[in-house]
Subunit: 125 residues, 2 copies
DNA sequence: TCATTTTGACTACAAGTGTAATCTCAGATC
DNA sequence: GATCTGAGATTACACTTGTAGTCAAAATGA
């Protein structure tokens, strides 16, 4: 699986926002959240291309970049990996621990209930 | 916050199993799960001490190592960090995504229900 | 007592990462 | 056409990480 460093992930975030995108657009988007020099972002883009997390098409002199991996795909895989390493693959302990110090919203609760319902429906065949 | 690399985390796991522990014990414990050379483990221990994730007391020529951070503390902080970066701080989307491809156990469901009940009791003041 | 073993300390070294600066060349500008 | 500019390519450099090897000193065994 493709592994992204933190900085690389930030660049992917900018790209996931909309693509294909020119490097100037990506730099523009990132300028809101970071102080990165544009050279830094170019370097990161290059590394992402090398890792095949990003592809590009030449439009004359410019490149149009696109992600080759989906955000949901990536984040979920990484999450599962963490849950595996930290909680032996079980998600409930994470939720319990999380809820102890973080406030859940009504929406969170609704979503959790939906997950439970889904599971129970499936159990009842 | 103290950041641990993957290899360092493995060493912490061995130490969390029981402490204080001599390096020989830690090496012994890790021999079940890894092929690491004992020198490698010594190096990692040294780095952990430098990072102040581990402390030691000299017992003559030997050291007795102990973790200075708790496993739950560390794993929860890292989890929250990931949830923040990947899911804007909300845990429900992670649970939904997780449940789509991973099988939940009855125990998981019970724990999730407990979290919900806890939350609802609190809402009702 | 002298060699051997063992432990922690120090050193090594390539790959990955954060954070750019320099080089090169095609297109825009005068 | 000569020059400037901005894009991508290449190079840089310190720090971290994985994965040990070497060194010095103490304990141990013969």
């Amino acid at each position: 699986m493709i592994e992204l460093s933190k900085a690389e992930f930030e660049v992917m975030e900018a790209l996931w926002q909309g693509h294909p995108a020119k490097s100037s657009e990506i730099i523009e988007r990132l300028s809101d959240d970071t102080q990165w020099h544009d050279k830094t972002i170019k370097t990161l883009l290059g590394r992402l291309v090398k890792k095949q997390a990003v592809s590009f098409e030449k439009q004359g002199r410019l490149y149009q970049y696109s992600p080759t991996i989906g955000r949901d795909d990536y984040t979920l895989k990484q999450s599962k990996n963490l849950i595996q390493r930290f909680f032996s693959g079980r998600i409930a302990p994470l939720v319990s621990g999380f809820a102890k110090t973080e406030q859940l919203s009504q929406q969170d609760i609704n979503e959790l209930k939906a997950v439970i319902k889904e599971w129970e429906d499936q159990q009842g065949k």
